[in-house]
Every structure is written in structure tokens, then in C-alpha cells.
């Protein structure tokens, strides 16, 4: 209401109106459209929640209502007065933001950007906090659970470092003494690692030339190969001396045989030769061809060496010094050559002797071999002969055995056949014997069996006779039982003062009768009501007759199709009727009643029933029940009579 008045009071300017609406749209939004307020209906509530009155200031100052939401920059500007609007050109000054008349000048909605930014920032902060919390939780849980530790360190970035840091701290806390040295593997810290060179292991190179890798080369000698370092040099020295000492012992006799010995001896001689060659500066060379046994290559070599030495000495300045030595050497050369020749001859002789000995040996061996071969051949021949003989004997024996066995088999077969024939004959004989015996026995048996059959026949006849007699006795007994049962039923009926059911007696009777058709028919003829309820006695019948007769007498004078009037008349007139008695003559109701009474007194139920059956009309209707009772009694009596006569008849029939 207030707002409406305010709206009305406001100057009418389209732009300002729009701004106003924008600034106050909260109030518009909160109002429900379907809420209808009657004037005065809310007056009770007024003191409870009066809506804050919209600012009564000019619309230019709406910030009083919502200073908290609209910043100063977004405050809508003062709308221009209509005169200004009209006078102002379409183009606004460049410095000021466009505040035209249209909706384009409307300030951008101040609210939306703010909450958005804040929301985003809040979301970021929350995300950060959450992730930090999650990370911390993950680190903690990884310290607790091994399984999670594996997962965390493997998949979460920097998880391993974080977990490792905490583990380190825990470890330090537990073992303060080893605080300096981390218990984790040094690899984490980046210490020098053990690297295996690319060309490690076996290679074609000898171990010595791997000098550059001496520091870590395992192939080189060092402490790792042997702990005893000091003893080594001495051992090596010893080793070095050993071969020098060994030189002499290795020389064997065979070595002496070779010309090497001579060659070896020469270097010893050369030393003095060198000394000798000195004095004779121009010592003559030894002539190769002059020397005896110049053909020997060894000698030639020696001469050559000597000549070389001489030449060297000759070339030298101090050749005179060695002249004497060289001369001596030359003389020695001759001796050496002679030695060589002698040695050669000796060798030749020895070789010849050896060859001869070998020849002789070979001859002997050849002879021996031939002898051996001959002997072997002879032996083999003898062996073969023996084998041949034995084989022949064996064959002969096997053939003989075969023949014998076949002969035996043939004999056996023959014998068997003979035996079989014999057996057959015996069997035939036995059969014949058996048949004859059987015949005899049969004849004998027939004679006796006939007597036996006669006996059994007579026994059968006897049995039959006794069976018949038994049947007779049984029949007698049965009839006796029947008679007794009938008597029992009769007795129960006569004894009873009151109608009593006699189903059990009848059932017993039927049982005893043993499906006798006559008895069954007689029992079936009885009305089931009779044996289920019992039958009235004679006295009861008479008593009831008297009552019935009184009623019948009242209806005695009724015509056919009598109405109420005739009934009344009959009732009245029947009082005046004369009573008849005895065997009255006539067919009127009174006479019938008198006759019936008389018959009943005599005990003739059958006659009484016949008389009463002769009535007609109402009289018959009234006496219907009494007649039914009488009939039932009669039926029972008749059935019992029939059964008794049947029993009597059966006793008569037995013989």
C-alpha cells in the first residue's frame, strides 16, 4: 500500500522507473502472487512484522535499503529531469558512461558477479584445504598401514618424500644416537654409486694394459687378490734364479748327441776369440773349402761365425789384441771338426747296428705271425668240422623224435577209437538192460498200483460220506441258530412295554441266516422305521385307537369338500349320534369304528386295519397315522413268521 502510494507520488520518468524497479526487485520477488490480503485482515500482525517501509527518500538514494549489497560504484545515477532528457542530444559526452533514455543505460545488475567470485574463491579454498587434509591423512595412514604405504608412495606425487620424512623423524626420535646417519639407504641422498663399466668382465686385452682403471680394476694385483704382499718379491726372485740353476740338469744324453752341444760350446770359445782377434788387425779369414769335411753344414756354420767375428775384429782398431786368440781358435777349429767327424762315425755305426737288429726282430715277428695264423686256421677247421658233426646229429635226433611222437600220436588215436567203440557198446548194452528192467518194473508196478487206486477210491468215498454228514450236521446247527434268533426277536418284541428298536436282533438274525434269500427278502420287507424306532405294543395301539376314534367321530358327518360351516355343523351334530357296539352292520363311520374296536379287542390286528382302511374322506385322513403303525406291526409279524417257517422248512429239507 505504502509502496503503491509511493509509486504514485514518484515523478514519472521511464529511465528512473526502471532503475527503481531494479533496485527494489527483492520486495517484488518476495511477494506471493496468490496471497490475497483483505484490508484490515493483517492488522493483528502489524506489530509482529511490519515490513520495513521503503525509503521515503527520493529514488536517487535507494542505497539506504541495501547498502550491503550494492557498492558505491553501482549506485544508479540520478535520472535526468524530463527537460534534460528532452534537451540533451542523443550523443552523450564521451567521458561519462552512456546514460541514455533506453534500457541500455541501466546499470549492470550489481549482485551476480560478487557471489560468483566469492563462490569460486571459496571453492578453491575448500578444495585446497580438503586436498591438504587428504594428503595429511594419506601420509598418516601410510605410516599406519603397510598396504596403503605402498599405494601412497607409488601413486601420489611426492608421497614417497613426505612419508620418508616422517619415517625419518620417527626413527630419529626412537634412536637419538644415530641422529647423524640416516637409516635409509644412502642412494636417496645421491652418494657415489657403484658403477659397472661398460667393458667389464672378459676382454681380449691382457690384464697389464688396463692401467687407466687401476684404481678400481679388479684384474690388477692388489690386496684383494692376496694378503701376503711382502713375501712376493722374494718368491719371484727365487723363481728367477731357479731356471738358471736348472739349465745344467736339463741337459740329457740325447742333447749331447745333437750337434747343438757343439754349437753351444762355441759361444764359450768366441769370447776368447774376440780377445785374440785384437792383436792381429788383419787376420786371415778361415777358408771354407780348405777345411776337412767342409761338406758338414754345422762345420760351415761354425766357420761362418768365426769368419764374422774375425771380420768384426779386423774392422776394429784393436784387432791386434785378439790375433793370438783368433789363431788359437783357428787351431781349435780343426780339433772341433775332427771331433765332429768321429762323433758322426760313431753315430753311423750305432744306427747301422740298430737297423740290423730291427730287421732281425721283424723277421722273427713275421715268422711267428705266419705260424699263428696257420695254427688258427687249423683250429677253426677242426672246430667247424666238429660243429657240423654235432649239427647233423642234432637234426637226425630231432627227426627221429618227430617220427616217434607222430607214431605215438597215431597209436594213441587208434587206441582211443577202440576205446570209444567199446564204450559205445557198453552203453548200448546198459541201455538195453535198463529198458528191460524198466519194463519189468512197470509190469510189477501196474499190478500193485491198481490195488492202491482202489484203496484211494474207497477212501474218497468215505470222505465224501463223512462230508455229507457234516453238511447235514452244519445245516441242522444253522437252522437251530436261526430258530433261536427268530425266537429272540419275538421275545424282545413281546416283552417290551414301550416301543424299542430291535436292530441288533435283526442284524444277528441276518448274520445267522447266512445270506438266505428268503430271510433277506423278509427282512427287507420290514419298514426300516419299524426296527429303528421299534413297534408299539397291542395295548398302545388300542389306546391310540380310542383317541383316533373320538376325532373320527367328530368328522363323521362331513360331506365332500366341506367348508367351515359344514365342519361346524358336523362338530355340533356328531354329539348327538348314537354309539354302536360289537360287530355292527353297515358301512357308515360309526359302524366301522365299532367293528374295528371289537376286532382290536379280539386281537385281530389285521382285520382292524382292513376295517379302518375302508373309511373315506376326513375320517381316513385322521386315522392315517394309526393305520401306518398297525401296518408296521403287521409287517414285522409277517416277516418273523416267514423266517420261522423258513427255518422249519430247512430242518425238514436236510434229510
Amino acid at each position: 500500500m505504502l509502496r503503491a502510494s509511493l509509486l504514485r507520488a514518484r515523478p514519472i520518468a521511464p529511465a528512473a522507473h526502471l532503475q527503481w524497479r531494479v533496485a527494489h526487485r527483492f520486495f517484488a520477488d518476495t511477494k506471493k502472487p496468490d496471497e490475497t490480503l483483505l484490508p484490515g485482515s493483517q492488522s493483528a500482525k502489524t506489530n509482529v512484522d511490519i515490513p520495513p517501509p521503503p525509503p521515503l527518500t527520493t529514488p536517487t538514494n535507494p542505497s539506504a535499503a541495501n547498502t550491503s549489497t550494492i557498492p558505491a560504484g553501482d549506485v544508479p545515477r540520478t535520472p535526468p529531469t524530463p527537460e534534460e532528457v528532452r534537451s540533451a542530444p542523443a550523443v552523450s559526452p564521451a567521458t561519462t558512461p552512456p546514460t541514455g533514455t533506453g534500457s541500455s543505460s541501466v546499470a549492470p545488475p550489481p549482485q551476480p558477479p560478487k557471489p560468483k567470485k566469492r563462490r569460486f574463491r571459496r571453492f578453491l579454498i575448500q578444495l585446497l584445504i580438503l586436498s591438504a587434509l587428504g594428503y595429511a591423512g594419506g601420509v598418516y595412514y601410510s605410516l599406519v598401514s603397510d598396504n596403503f604405504h605402498d599405494f601412497f608412495t607409488e601413486y601420489v606425487p611426492f608421497g614417497e618424500d613426505a612419508v620418508g620424512y616422517f619415517e625419518e623423524r620417527e626413527f630419529r626420535k626412537r634412536f637419538p644416537g644415530q641422529a647423524g646417519s640416516p637409516h635409509l639407504h644412502p642412494q636417496i641422498k645421491g652418494e657415489p654409486k657403484v658403477t659397472i663399466p661398460s667393458k667389464h668382465g672378459l676382454s681380449w686385452r691382457v690384464a697389464e694394459d688396463g692401467e687407466e682403471g687401476k684404481g678400481s680394476d679388479l684384474a690388477s694385483k692388489g690386496r684383494h687378490s692376496s694378503a701376503v704382499e711382502e713375501a712376493k718379491p722374494a718368491a719371484s726372485q727365487g723363481k728367477r734364479e731357479a731356471p738358471s740353476t736348472k739349465d745344467k740338469p736339463t741337459e740329457s744324453a740325447t742333447h749331447d748327441l745333437l750337434p747343438k752341444g757343439a754349437v753351444k760350446a762355441e759361444p764359450k770359445k768366441e769370447e776368447p776369440k774376440k780377445a785374440e782377434a785384437a792383436p792381429a788387425p788383419t787376420a786371415p779369414l778361415v777358408d771354407n773349402l780348405e777345411i776337412p769335411s767342409a761338406k758338414e753344414p754345422v762345420v760351415q756354420d761354425v766357420v761362418k761365425i768365426l769368419n764374422d767375428i774375425i771380420m768384426v775384429i779386423n774392422a776394429d782398431a784393436a784387432a791386434s789384441k785378439y790375433s793370438s786368440v783368433i789363431a788359437k781358435a783357428r787351431s781349435d777349429l780343426g780339433k772341433v771338426i775332427s771331433d765332429i767327424t768321429t762323433l758322426k762315425e760313431a753315430e753311423q755305426k750305432a744306427a747301422e747296428e740298430k737297423i740290423r737288429a730291427a730287421h732281425a726282430e721283424f723277421d722273427a715277428a713275421a715268422k711267428e705271425l705266419i705260424n699263428r695264423v696257420d695254427r688258427q686256421m687249423q683250429e677253426q677247421e677242426a672246430h667247424w668240422k666238429e660243429e657240423y658233426e654235432s649239427e647233423r646229429e642234432k637234426l637226425a635226433q630231432t627227426y627221429k623224435q618227430k617220427l616217434q611222437s607222430e607214431l605215438e600220436v597215431a597209436q594213441k588215436v587208434h587206441e582211443q577209437r577202440l576205446k570209444n567203440e567199446l564204450l559205445e557198446q557198453s552203453i548200448a548194452l546198459q541201455r538195453h538192460f535198463a529198458s528191460t528192467i524198466r519194463d519189468r518194473v512197470e509190469t510189477e508196478r501196474d499190478g500193485r498200483l491198481s490195488k492202491l487206486t482202489e484203496l484211494s477210491d474207497s477212501i474218497h468215498e468215505l470222505e465224501k460220506l463223512t462230508g455229507e454228514w457234516n453238511a447235514v450236521v452244519d445245516a441242522n446247527l444253522k437252522t437251530q441258530h436261526l430258530v433261536v434268533a427268530v425266537e429272540a426277536v419275538k421275545a424282545t418284541l413281546e416283552k417290551a412295554d414301550v416301543p424299542k428298536p430291535f436292530v441288533t436282533e435283526l442284524a444277528a438274525l441276518k448274520e445267522i441266516a447266512n445270506d438266505d434269500p428268503v430271510v433277506a427278502a423278509a427282512i427287507a420287507s420290514i419298514n426300516p422305521v419299524a426296527y429303528q424306532r421299534g413297534i408299539p405294543t397291542a395295548s398302545q395301539l388300542i389306546d391310540r385307537f380310542r383317541r383316533v376314534a373320538a376325532e373320527v367321530r367328530k368328522a363323521a358327518l362331513l360331506p365332500e369338500d366341506a367348508g367351515v360351516a359344514s365342519h361346524l355343523a358336523s362338530l355340533a351334530m356328531s354329539k348327538f349320534l348314537f354309539k354302536k357296539s360289537g360287530l355292527a352292520v353297515g358301512s357308515d363311520v360309526e359302524a366301522v369304528l365299532a367293528r374295528t374296536e371289537a376286532l382290536l379287542e379280539e386281537g385281530d390286528l389285521d382285520g382292524a386295519a382292513r376295517e379302518m382302511n375302508g373309511l373315506e374322506g376326513w375320517a381316513k385322513v385322521l386315522s392315517r397315522d394309526w393305520l401306518g403303525e398297525v401296518r408296521r406291526v403287521l409287517e414285522v409279524r409277517q416277516a418273523l413268521d416267514v423266517i420261522a417257517t423258513e427255518a422249519r422248512l430247512q430242518t425238514l429239507l436236510v434229510d
Binding site: D497, K500, R533, R547
Partner: protein
């Protein structure tokens, strides 16, 4: 059975479903009298009501009503007597030409 007979030495128990034949007529009389009373009473009361409401308290409507009731009762009684004498045709099929 025997004990029941000893306790009730009187005649067989009267069957409630069907009255004994000798009592048929008496029963009819009873019914006729009772119906006569009721119907005549009803007729009388109706007559009285009519006389009060319509006929300015004249006596004759009452008598007429009584006569109607009594007559109706008589007729019913008569018919019941007439039909009872003839053998009942229950369970019999009537062949008409």
C-alpha cells in the same frame, strides 16, 4: 435305549415336523380362530381410523372394517378345510389333455 425307555415310559415322542393325523382338524380349527380374531381386529381398527380421519366419526366404517376382516378370515379357513380333505398332490405330476 433301554434306559431312555425306562425314563420315558410314555408313548413315542411327538414329531414336531408333522402333527399326528388325528390332530389335523383340531389344529386347523385353532388356526382359523386365531386368524379370525386377528383379521377382524385389524379390519375394525382400520375402520375406526378411517371413520375418525375421513368420515366424521361415524360408526359404519368401523363395522365395515370388522366385516372385511372377519370375512377374509372365514374365506381362508374355508379354503384350508376344503383343500386339506383332498389327498395332497405334492410330488405328483398332473397330465393335462
Amino acid at each position: 435305549m433301554s434306559d431312555s425307555s425306562s425314563t420315558t415310559p410314555t408313548a413315542p415322542v411327538a414329531r414336531t415336523s408333522r402333527p399326528m393325523s388325528e390332530a389335523l382338524l383340531n389344529e386347523k380349527w385353532d388356526r382359523c380362530l386365531s386368524s379370525m380374531l386377528i383379521r377382524s381386529g385389524l379390519g375394525l381398527s382400520f375402520g375406526i381410523v378411517f371413520s375418525v380421519l375421513l368420515f366424521k366419526r361415524r360408526a359404519w366404517p368401523a363395522y365395515v372394517g370388522l366385516g372385511f376382516g372377519a370375512g377374509r378370515a372365514w374365506e381362508e379357513c374355508d379354503s384350508s378345510f376344503k383343500h386339506a380333505a383332498a389327498p395332497s398332490k405334492d410330488g405328483l405330476r398332473v397330465l393335462r389333455p
